[in-house]
Amino acid sequence: MSLTIIKPGLLDTIQDLGRFGYSSWGINPGGVMDSYAARIANMLVGNEPGEAVMEIHFPGAQILFEQNALISITGADFTPTLNDDERITTWRPIVVRRNTLLHFPKWQYGSRCYLAVHGGFCVPRWLNSYSTNLKAGAGGFEGRKLDKGDELPFKENSIYFAGLLKDSREYQPLNWRVDTGKTYQLPHEILFTIGHEWSQLTHTSQQDMMENNFTIHPFSDRMGYQLRGVPLKRQQTTELVSSGVSFGTIQLLPDGQLILLMADHQTTGGYPRIGHVISSQLPKLAQLRPSDSIHFSMIDIPTAEELLFSQEHELSIIQRACYDHLNQLVC
């Protein structure tokens, strides 16, 4: 039970929901950029939401399924295609026959997609997580991005899905798909709560932050998004000693530009923390690309929490629905 990388992509890694508990050693949580898409990818194929998935950037890898597999692809749409020209839909479970080639010929939407296989990828855990930490060279598949010839075994199956394949076909999409609701709507409208150093911004800069658009610079990656926009100023430029930061923290650089910390951010930082993108919008942020613009609006923490709870509620409904659908299929 495995798949093989026939041709490597730009940056394809094994990730899960993050490696928590080691920040005080300087080991960041990492994990998937878009946890909403990754969790649903797992739910669609009957896995626990935190199973290891493959995070794929564009251009993506060419992947050969050595065995029949129940898969799903969520998040960005890079036109996932089987063999020559069988285009498959995202956010949907699909049974693929052995010796089928998956590739991503054309970018349509988003920044990273997630491939889940029923059972999950069989890679060792490092410090309780499957996530690849490229800095440490550990976790995921040999601590590195996937390369030509890499063979990724799957864990045991619990669902017999091969019977769903019709004789003549290479694949069989199952007849349900997930509606992502509000999660990716208004992609450029980003909500934040104020950070510890927000009050140090001049009044004008506070207004500038919310009245202007900021553009994502090409020097943006899994560590952080550099933004370009009207420079912001602090009333006084006291040096800060380094302190903890997290996924979504908005920092002010000395040149007045902003940086948004993403999944592979460092554990600590010494730049002023102007704000924090709310958790329920990190998936949306993770799908933005260089040259996309962002418009910030401020909300308070209780409202941010309510938005998160409603997203979590939606995810629990999706999880139950996926479970029920798969159960009906195998019973």
Binding site: P29, A138, S243, T267, H276, A304
Partner: protein, 216 residues
Amino acid sequence: MGDGAATIDLGNHLSESLNGKVLAMHQWLEQNRFEGLKDIITAYSSLTILYDTAFIKNYYQPSAPVFEWIKQRLITAYQQSGDFVEGTPVRHRIPVHYGRENGMDLDALARQKQLTPQEVIRIHTAKVYRVYMIGFLPGFSYMAAVDDQIAQPRKDKPVAVPAGSVGIAGSQTGIYPFNGPGGWNIIGRTPMELFNAQAENPVLLKAGDEVVFYEA
């Protein structure tokens, strides 16, 4: 820190007593963990926790926002923890090859400080340093405080720095665990391994440890 993290900041400066309190709070929180606590980041004078907001909402069902509940936990940790972690700190003796190809900035630093390179080495090896925090990279140690005679701001531009490099930035000294870009003034290099992913204990230095450098 948003809707999934919270920081308690004890004051924006580098002090042994503030850092001692931070580490004592860390220890207290580890010994009195609550469900939904995901991670703890200790820094010079602040402690940040990452928490699972939705999980805490369901598990503890607080009537107020989860953030208020977290805030109370942090205040309790502050009140109930001691002033510092009890017991004798672990002390590491770290050999360093100073200067030349191992310490590309030693001569320049000595010139600017009107010292000889040998005097810089003598001053750097004369003190016991405290590890205040680990951050930036896995296992990167922020130690302090170097003597004012050799304190030097970081360089304007980061350059390629090999693993094991020992540097000075302001009153801090530290060791790079990996090859990579770095802006600290590099005065030497240690052959010791600061990080080993496969070891049971991947990180050599921990916050609260003590370090003495000696000339290899």
